[in-house]
Amino acid sequence: MDIESPEKLIELLDRHAYLADEGLATAAFLALRMGRPLFLEGEAGVGKTELAKTLAALLKAPLIRLQCYEGLDAAQALYDWDFARQLLHLKAAEAAGITDVSRLEGEIYDRRFLIARPLLKAIETQPSVLLVDEIDRADDEFEAFLLEVLSDFTISIPELGTVRARTPPVVVVTSNRTREVHDALKRRCLYHWLEHPDFDREVAILLRRLPGCTETLAMQVARAAERLRQADLVKPPGVAETLDWTEALLTLGAKELDPGRAAATLGAALKYREDVAAVIGNGLLSHG
């Protein structure tokens, strides 16, 4: 698909109900054009993961997701051998009286016994969108390893040879910045810091994503969300949460954000008991 400018990409993303501003659109545009990973950093819930999903939808490419966690290692990210099937194959060979070691070896390290994990899968799938989600949760050693894979999009498997991507996947790396990520990795990527949307954009997002939502309700929720984000909470609501909250209000048949319904549905926006208590205690919901 040929996307000629960042403006065109804004339009295409909009068709998939993702409202991007100029900065994010330029970032994604350059990532597509330059074949470089896009490193998205920002607080939880600003729409980092959602962008990867939307890019996959508009490029009509499968989304391959690598969720990072502490202790994630190469076998879980790249590939693994199917040990059980390999053993079965050996047993069968043994029963059949096959003793030729080099033949057995060739059979056992065949592609069909290889389990592709997300990185290998992304390199083998054309086209694809690879989402490396929450890289800040993985160990720092993993970053060096990831950098290697993202630099030349090849994976070498000692028993099989090198697998190379014909066209590199579109890569989106996200971080919530709970930990600083290696500069070498960031340098390889286009770096974008994603903010919570401003008031107008958030209203637009609510209206775009929730067809039954009235403009009044969208504006009231967006204003409330703005206040909540300034209120020093453990976990301020992201766009994902305001969407959930509005949806909850709509389900109750709300046309406006009245304090009673707001309090009843607050759990959709705030995920910590102490946050809910603080917000209700400080009267932050009474809209003005």
């Binding site: 350059l30 330059m34 040990f83 053993l87 720092d140 910045r177 290696h182 340098r187 810091w193």
Partner: protein, 358 residues
């Protein structure tokens, strides 16, 4: 170099002067990005630069300032920021004359029995007593907490080593036995900053001797910097087997003995050039910060995100009535995993013990 490349290189240089790590590779990325964009559109140039030259949210306000100044045609104002670090060093030299190596209050103690010495403040010892303590220091058992490495070794128990089991089976023609493996370990890196400013003078030698013991016990997993008005790496000098020689070498490379402390600036410089990822960071200082305490706070916040543990060693912590009230100490406190004493042999023994089990 064509005009666009020259302009952009100049812009990157301006950013570097303002503290953004816009290195050569990033500048090249910017030029590549501009191939795909409209260079006559300030908005697109703005984003191309921001996406390729910045590396964190802290960079963004600086980027905005530089962009406005550079492309607004006010280059001169920005170049001045490049010289501030030089003038700062010069200004610093004049301040705080320093109190010398010894505070001149020799204790009246005659007993050189180690048990007594162990708990005494090294700043209040006689030369002879201090020498005794320093000899003991060289004997500190330098244990070091270990971290799991990504490598495996074969073991009798642990996870199934599938590859080795299959290889074995291939060789023997049958699955004779299961093989196991486990992760190997390696020592955690310790990064130590030793404040050599005037107010720390009575403790500097003892701290450096402690650093020497650390380096000797784990030469490849210890990095030491002296901090005062500037950051000086001294690990190589501390590698000498003999503590006396090592300290002599160190004294030759430290340019700023007994000046003031600008720990905030120095940690910033450290973080810009090196990384304390996964390390135990030791900061040995009394927290008499002459720079901006707020800067110290933000740098420690960054350091704390990278490091495994941040431990502040303060000589005054050894006293029961000590309160962390100096500006530097107060700014640092929220980001520390621990604040420990560093005034006596016993305190250093405890610290050493901590490093073995951190």
């Amino acid at each position: 170099m064509d005009e666009l490349a020259a302009t952009m290189t100049g812009f990157a240089r301006t950013l570097r002067a303002a503290g953004v790590a816009a290195d050569h590779e990033r500048t090249q990325n910017l030029l590549r990005a501009l191939d795909h964009l409209d260079v006559c559109d300030p908005g697109e140039v703005y984003w191309a630069g921001r996406l390729t030259l910045c590396a964190g949210p802290d960079d963004l306000p600086r980027y905005d300032r530089c962009f406005a100044a550079y492309f607004g045609g006010r280059k001169a104002a920005l170049q001045r920021t490049a010289t501030t670090s030089v003038t700062r060093h010069l200004a610093e030299r004049q301040g705080d004359g320093g109190t010398g190596d010894d505070d001149g209050t020799p204790a009246a103690a005659t007993a050189s029995r180690i048990e007594v010495l162990r708990h005494r403040d090294v700043a209040r010892l006689t030369e002879a007593e201090r020498a005794e303590v320093h000899r003991m220091m060289a004997l500190l058992k330098g244990g070091r907490a270990r971290r799991r490495s990504r490598r495996f070794e074969s073991a009798h128990r642990g996870d199934l080593d599938q590859r080795r089991t299959i290889r074995d089976a291939l060789r023997k023609g049958e699955v004779a036995r299961l093989r196991h493996r486990r992760h190997t370990t390696r020592p955690r890196t310790v990064v130590m900053f030793v404040d050599v400013s005037g107010s720390m003078a009575p403790y500097a030698e003892t701290l450096l001797r402690f650093a020497h013991a650390l380096v000797r016990s784990e030469p490849r997993a210890t990095r030491v910097y002296s901090a005062g008005t500037r950051l000086t790496p001294i690990t190589a000098e501390l590698r000498h087997r003999d503590p006396g020689t090592a300290l002599n070498e160190v004294s030759k490379v430290i340019p700023d003995w007994s000046g003031g402390t600008r720990l905030g600036e120095e940690l910033k410089e450290y973080l810009a050039r090196f990384s304390a990822r996964g390390a135990i960071v030791l900061i040995a200082s009394d927290g008499w910060e002459r720079g901006d305490p707020e800067l110290l706070g933000t740098q420690l916040a960054r350091l704390a995100r990278q490091a495994y543990r941040v431990i502040w060693v303060n000589p005054h912590k050894g006293y029961a009535d000590y309160q962390p009230l100096t500006g530097g100490m107060r700014a640092a406190l929220p980001y520390l995993d621990d604040l420990v004493a560093g005034h006596s042999l016993a305190a250093f023994e405890q610290l050493s013990e901590r490093l073995a089990h951190a």
